[in-house]
């Protein structure tokens, strides 16, 4: 088996993201088309659906960080509050040519971290007190490198776009089911053709699920990408590997985390990978795999 270089990892992750996003777009277009055929709707109503979803997500695009930071009870810090953390972020920003994000500390003894922000100029990174206490300098660097890479790779923006598409599919499926229910009540209103109706019914159940699975797949790919980018930044992949092991083996639950914010953290704070169904919809890849890839770099 060839030695995976950091550059290869990064390339491969980026390419897989493109593939997934293309398949996703194809799925969405296909769903939209089938629904419109089934109901005999024109394309204008589809554009209304798109516009509606985009509007709903615009709010999330601009305010998601303050929302998430508030939910997680994060407190912004200055250099004097924690010089080690501040310097680590500062130095890795020099190494990556990024402007410094705002730095937050979450007062929780469970070790974890997350990054959020629509682009590098409006970004924040949050670290728990537990992580600061339990990790050594090299491990902390690995974690910060991972979080900064999420920002640099525009992962928050990507995940919002993906969520828009997921929301669109769910919305369309919902509308279809309602519209077909009302349509079936009056014979003269039925306009669509038979086979499309059957296809649409199947899709309205499967499509939202497939969309969720695709979103989870994108999220996992970006986690691998952030790991590889961090290794390139710190030139020390073992630091992050050790940190991931330490974090995942810590038994303490992260109190401020819940289903809505869990996907943002470096290690899923709601740890449940056991059955394959969870694996399909899991936002994070399994720790063993992440560590294995890092050790091989």
């Amino acid at each position: 088996m060839e030695q995976t270089s950091v550059y290869n990892q990064i390339e491969s992750n980026k390419q897989r993201t493109y593939v997934i996003m293309t398949l996703f777009t194809v799925l969405v277009v296909g769903v939209v088309w089938v629904f419109s055929q089934a109901l005999g709707w024109g394309l204008e109503s589809i554009w209304i659906a798109v516009g509606f979803t985009l509007l709903m997500n615009l709010f999330s695009y601009y305010f998601s960080d303050s929302l998430v930071l508030g939910l997680s009870k994060a407190k912004q810090i200055k250099k004097e509050d924690h010089p080690t953390l501040f310097r680590t972020v500062e130095n890795l920003c020099i190494a990556s040519g990024m402007t410094m994000p705002k730095v937050y500390i979450i007062e929780d003894s469970a070790p974890n971290a997350f990054a959020t922000g629509r682009d590098p100029k409006h970004a924040s990174v949050a670290i728990t007190r537990g992580l600061l206490d339990k990790l050594n300098k090299l491990e902390l660097e690995g974690v910060i490198g991972h979080e900064l890479s999420h920002i640099r790779n525009y992962d928050t923006r990507l995940m919002i776009i993906v969520s828009v598409l997921v929301g669109l599919v769910a919305l369309l499926a919902d509308w279809f089911l309602r519209a077909s229910w009302y349509q079936s009540r009056s014979e003269e209103n039925r306009r669509g053709s038979g086979i499309y109706i059957i296809l649409a019914i199947i899709l309205s159940i499967l499509a939202p699920l497939i969309a969720q699975a695709i979103r989870a797949a994108v999220s996992r790919r970006r986690e691998f990408l952030a790991d590889a980018s961090s290794a390139l930044l710190t030139r020390y992949p073992d630091g992050l590997a050790d940190a991931l092991l330490k974090i995942s083996q810590d038994k303490e639950p992260l109190e401020v985390a819940n289903r809505a914010t869990a996907h943002l953290y470096i290690v899923n704070p709601l740890k449940d990978y056991t059955n394959w169904l969870n694996k399909l919809f899991s936002t994070h890849p399994p720790i063993e795999e992440r560590v294995k890839i890092l050790r091989a770099m």
């Binding site: 010089p83 310097r87 500062e90 130095n91 890795l92 020099i94 190494a95 990556s96 040519g97 030139r235």
Partner: protein
């Protein structure tokens, strides 16, 4: 007529390609220059810490004049250095002068225990890290630029525009020598 159109189309595409290539090369070269100044910024930052350090140590080690003079001289050389070779040389001088300064400080336990000294040591050590990261960033930009001017078909055009390869930041000869630790002394 169609052949003419196709020919026109190809010419247009080639012009567009050269346009975008030229712009991306200029951007890459600018990034190299900017990240070089980034290293400069960190070196100057280290130079700025030196006077404070010298004063703190002087307060405890009044008699070690020679060492202080060396450090101050090296610092002035660094601040006034212009060309990259001058800068690299001045930087090496300051590094060795600082090494002697800290060796001197070892002999004064009260100095070592003082908060002022400790915090200056932290700052200095952090600046060394920052210099290292700035160099790393510079090298990654040089990698990007050098790659861009050497791949096919770019290299056919880069000579025409006068783009030349940039140098990676290398460790100096003395930095690369294996450090010998002698416990006998």
């Amino acid at each position: 007529m169609t052949i003419f159109l196709i020919f026109l189309g190809l010419v247009l595409l080639t012009i567009l390609f050269i346009w975008f290539l030229y712009n991306s090369l200029v951007t890459a070269k600018m990034r190299v220059k900017e990240s070089w100044s980034g290293i400069d910024v960190q070196l100057k930052r280290r130079a700025d810490l030196v006077p404070n350090l010298v004063e703190t140590i002087k307060a405890y080690a009044k008699h070690e004049k020679g060492v202080f003079e060396n450090v101050t001289k090296a610092r002035s050389a660094l601040v006034s250095a212009g060309a990259p070779e001058q800068l690299a040389q001045a930087n090496n001088q300051l590094t060795s002068a600082l090494k002697s300064l800290f060796a001197v400080a070892e002999a004064y336990p009260e100095l070592k225990a003082s908060e002022n000294f400790k915090s200056l040591q932290d700052e200095l050590s952090d600046t060394e890290s920052k210099i290292a990261y700035a160099r790393q960033f510079y090298n990654s930009n040089v990698l990007d630029y050098n790659t861009k001017i050497q791949i096919f078909p770019n290299f056919l055009l880069t000579n025409m525009f006068g783009f030349k390869q940039e140098e990676f930041f290398q460790a100096s000869g003395e930095e690369r020598e294996v450090v010998k630790v002698d416990f006998e002394k």
